[in-house]
C-alpha cells in the first residue's frame, strides 16, 4: 500500500482536474445545503465540510434507474434498448461512515446467490475517495457504536486524513492506486502514520453519541410482540425522509412508465415507511399500520441484517436523526429497546 503526503491547498485542484477526464461526484454547496453532485470539468469540490445532506448511495443505487426500454411494434412489445453502461466514476469526499455503507450494500446486492448487475456494474466502476473525520462533524454521529470509526478505511479506495498542513493519502486498493499519478505528493514516513494514529484515537474519543446497537439484537429476537412498538410510531409522518437520506436503506420498487408507444422499466427507491410499500394487489396490507412499518425498519437494521449478513445495517451517520421532521431519534429508540 502506497502512502503519500499531499499539500492541503492542492487537493481541490487535483480533483477539479480529474473532473475533466472522468465522471467525478463530490460534495458541493447547493444553496444552503451540501449535496453530492457531478462536477463540471475544472470545478473544485468542497474539501472542508461536515457531511452531505444526501447519502452518496445515489451514484451506485440511483433514486431512479432504467432497467430496460421497450416499444410497441406491429408484433407487440419489443425490447428497444438496454440501459446505458455505467461510467467510470470517482466518488470524492465520502465520509468513512458512508464508505462503510457501500460494503453493507455489497452484502445485499452482490451475494453469492443473488447478484444485482446494475449495482455491481456501477460499483466496479466507482473509486471511492474518503476524507477521514479528523473531528466528528456532528454531535449526532455515532459511527463507533455500530462498528465504524471516524478514520475508518472500510470500503475506501483512497483515504485522505488531514494532518494539519497536508493530507496523508493512503492508496488502499488497486483502484485507489490508479489515482497515484493524478494525486502525486511526496512519500509519507512513519511520522505521518504516527500523527494519523493520534488523530484516530482522538477523533473516536470525540464522538458524542453512543448507542447500545450491538446489545439489542437478542432483545429484538424475542420481542417481536412488545408494547414498546405500540407507541413508538405515533408521531411518525410516514414520509420517506429517513430512508431516502439513509446511506444503507436500499429498498426499491420496479415499475413501467409509458408514453405513447415507448416505455421504460425503471426501478425507484421505495421506503418501508410508506403505507403502499407492502400493499398487495388484492388490497390487503400485511403491515397495516405505521407500527408494523416501524418495527420492520428497526428489525431490518438491527436484527435481520445481522442475521443475514452478520452486520448492523446502520453506519451511524446521523442523517435520519437530524432530518426527521418529527424528531424520531434512532439513538433514543435503540437506547429504549436496550432497556426492555
Amino acid at each position: 500500500m502506497e502512502k503519500r503526503l499531499i499539500k492541503k491547498e492542492t487537493l481541490a485542484g487535483i480533483v477539479g482536474e480529474l473532473a475533466g477526464k472522468m465522471r467525478v461526484c463530490a460534495p458541493m454547496k447547493a444553496e444552503d445545503q451540501v449535496l453530492f453532485r457531478i462536477l463540471e470539468a475544472g470545478e473544485k469540490p468542497l474539501v472542508d465540510f461536515a457531511n452531505t445532506k444526501n447519502a452518496p448511495k445515489n451514484f451506485l443505487f440511483p433514486r431512479t434507474e432504467t432497467l430496460l426500454k421497450f416499444t410497441r411494434t406491429g408484433k407487440g412489445m419489443v425490447r428497444a434498448g438496454e440501459p446505458e453502461e455505467g461510467e467510470k466514476t470517482l466518488l470524492f469526499g465520502v465520509r468513512p461512515c458512508d464508505a462503510r455503507s457501500f460494503t453493507l450494500l455489497d452484502m445485499l446486492f452482490d451475494q453469492e446467490k443473488y447478484k444485482d448487475p446494475y449495482y455491481i456494474d456501477k460499483r466496479a466502476k466507482t473509486t471511492i475517495v474518503a476524507i477521514a473525520c479528523v473531528h466528528p462533524p456532528y454531535t449526532t454521529c455515532f459511527c463507533t457504536s455500530v462498528g465504524g470509526s471516524p478514520v475508518d478505511s472500510v470500503g475506501v479506495d483512497l483515504l485522505l486524513t488531514d494532518l494539519g498542513n497536508e493530507y496523508l493519502a493512503e492508496f488502499l486498493t488497486p483502484k485507489g492506486e490508479e489515482l497515484l499519478a493524478a494525486f502525486g505528493g511526496s512519500p509519507a514516513g512513519a511520522e505521518a502514520e504516527k500523527a494519523k494514529e493520534g488523530i484516530a484515537a482522538r477523533a473516536a474519543g470525540e464522538i458524542a453519541s453512543h448507542i447500545p446497537a450491538h446489545e439489542i439484537k437478542p432483545i429484538l429476537d424475542t420481542h417481536f410482540e412488545d408494547p414498546f412498538w405500540n407507541t413508538l410510531h405515533q408521531k411518525c409522518l410516514a414520509c420517506g425522509t429517513c430512508t431516502y437520506l439513509c446511506p444503507t436503506c436500499h429498498c426499491f420498487d420496479i415499475s413501467d412508465e409509458v408514453k405513447r408507444d415507448d416505455g421504460i422499466r425503471i426501478r425507484n427507491w421505495d421506503s418501508c415507511m410508506f403505507p403502499m410499500f407492502t400493499k398487495e394487489t388484492s388490497g390487503h396490507n400485511p403491515r397495516s399500520s405505521q407500527k408494523e412499518r416501524w418495527r420492520q425498519r428497526v428489525m431490518h437494521k438491527f436484527r435481520y441484517y445481522p442475521d443475514n449478513f452478520n452486520a448492523i445495517a446502520c453506519v451511524g451517520c446521523g442523517r435520519c436523526v437530524m432530518a426527521c421532521p418529527v424528531n424520531l431519534d434512532i439513538r433514543k429508540i435503540v437506547t429504549d429497546i436496550a432497556k426492555i
Binding site: E257, K259, R260, D262, G263, I264
Partner: protein, 145 residues
C-alpha cells in the same frame, strides 16, 4: 417534441375537453353546418365541465398537448344546474396558478359555447389554434422519455 418532428412543419396539437350538452353539440352543429375550422383539436367529451379533474388538463400538457381548451355551457345554462359554476372557480384558480409558475397563459384556455353556437365553436377553435400556434411547441411540464 423530437428534433425530427420540429424539423417538419409544426402543427399545434390541442386537446379540447368539452361538455356533452352544450359545446359538444355546438361542435356537432358546426359540422352539420359545414363551418370550416382548423383540424388541430382533438375533442374529448365529458358529461359536464364540473366533472373535469384539473389533472386532465395537466396530464394532457405532460403527454405533449401544445394547448388545452376546456369549454362548457354558458353560466346559468348548465344541464346539471351548477356544474359549470363550480368549474369556473376551479379553472380560474388553476389558470392563475399555472400562470404564476410561468406557464404561458394561452396553453390553457377556457370558454363557453352553447349547443346553438356552431359558428362560435368554429371561431373559438380558430382563435385557440392561432393563440397556441403563436406560442410554438410546448416545452414546459412535458414528459420526456
Amino acid at each position: 417534441m423530437t428534433d425530427k418532428e420540429s424539423a417538419k412543419e409544426w402543427e399545434p396539437k390541442i386537446v379540447a375537453i368539452v361538455c356533452n350538452w352544450c359545446t359538444y353539440a355546438g361542435a356537432d352543429l358546426a359540422g352539420i353546418s359545414r363551418i370550416q375550422y382548423p383540424p388541430n383539436v382533438r375533442i374529448i367529451r365529458v358529461p359536464c365541465t364540473g366533472r373535469i379533474n384539473p389533472f386532465y388538463i395537466l396530464r394532457a400538457l405532460q403527454e405533449g398537448a401544445d394547448g388545452v381548451l376546456v369549454s362548457g355551457c354558458h353560466p346559468g345554462e348548465c344541464h346539471y344546474i351548477t356544474g359549470n359554476l363550480t368549474a369556473r372557480r376551479k379553472f380560474a384558480a388553476l389558470k392563475s396558478f399555472l400562470g404564476y409558475i410561468g406557464l404561458e397563459g394561452d396553453r390553457t384556455l377556457f370558454t363557453w359555447v352553447s349547443a346553438s353556437e356552431g359558428d362560435r365553436f368554429a371561431q373559438v377553435i380558430r382563435g385557440v389554434t392561432d393563440a397556441v400556434r403563436a406560442l410554438g411547441p410546448a416545452r414546459k411540464l412535458v414528459k420526456r422519455m
